[in-house]
């Protein structure tokens, strides 16, 4: 299986102490690397207002991870851990590699077109001559 990229976001209760969140993040990272994954980025967004109530909380502590892995099992394990973890009230994983691929394709296309445009008058003539 080729390598896939994932976004993993989870929300902790706002009253959990910072150390506990750090510990949780550390265990998650460890579990990810153990299963052949890589942690590209870890961000703590801090306490934010939630758009709606989640298990009776109106605020939550957001943690954001970017992961890469060839093993789908890794995500399964991480989600299991998040489900079990006490301070976590919500989590979400999104697979992003296909969208990134699409994005790169579009960028390449645009660059190619931008590169072609200035040469167009001369290029078309040459092409026509070559074709004939």
């Amino acid at each position: 299986m080729e390598e896939r990229q994932y976004d993993l976001i989870f929300i902790c209760r706002p009253d959990t102490p910072e150390e506990e969140i750090n510990k949780l993040v550390a265990t998650l990272e460890h579990a990810a690397t153990e299963r052949g994954g890589k942690v590209e980025k870890t961000e703590k967004w801090g306490t934010r207002k939630l758009a709606y109530r989640v298990s009776k909380h109106r605020e939550g502590f957001y943690v954001y991870l970017v992961l890469r892995s060839t093993q789908g099992e890794m995500i399964k394990e991480l989600e299991r851990r998040l489900k079990v973890a006490d301070p976590v009230i919500k989590y979400m994983t999104v697979r992003l590699d296909e969208e990134i691929k699409r994005q790169q394709k579009l960028v390449q296309k645009r660059e190619r077109r931008a590169a072609r445009r200035p040469r167009k008058p001369a290029g078309t003539g040459e092409q026509a001559a070559a074709a004939s």
Partner: protein
């Protein structure tokens, strides 16, 4: 021989379009009598009155064309196309918020002017943002 052919060729080209353009408008009002023009004038206003659907949305005197058509609509442009966006990030609720109604509904394309492709991406991003409580499914009262 060559001298005669050359001068002949250029003059017809400019002459032919000019006479056609000039007499044509003259001929129509001159030859047509009072009868037909009246009917023509009477017809269009009635049809215009019959179809006010176009006018309603355009508003009065919008756009640079004042005289002929009152219901000229300003063309909406996709914001994402203007900024050349290749990926709509679901992690930026501030951006997504502008494409949502007050109560949290996704605004349709006909109102925001987003192109089909970007609206599709936008919908995905909005739904993801909702899932992780960055945007509301429905605003609470």
């Amino acid at each position: 021989m060559a001298d005669e052919e050359n001068p002949q060729a250029p003059p017809p080209a400019p002459e032919t379009p000019a006479p056609e353009a000039v007499p044509a408008p003259q001929a129509v009002p001159a030859t047509s009598h009072q009868g037909p023009p009246r009917r023509r004038e009477g017809g269009p206003p009635g049809r215009r009155m019959g179809g006010p659907g176009g006018r309603r949305e355009g508003g009065p005197g919008a756009g640079p064309r004042r005289g002929k058509r009152q219901f000229f609509r300003k063309k909406k442009v996709c914001k994402f196309c203007v900024e050349r966006v290749d990926y709509i990030d679901y992690k930026k609720p501030e951006v997504l918020q502008t494409f949502v109604q007050d109560r949290g509904k996704i605004l349709p394309r006909r109102i925001t002017g987003t192109c089909a492709r970007h609206q599709r991406w936008l919908g995905v991003a909005l739904r993801r943002a909702r899932n992780i409580a960055l945007l509301p499914f429905a605003t609470e009262l």
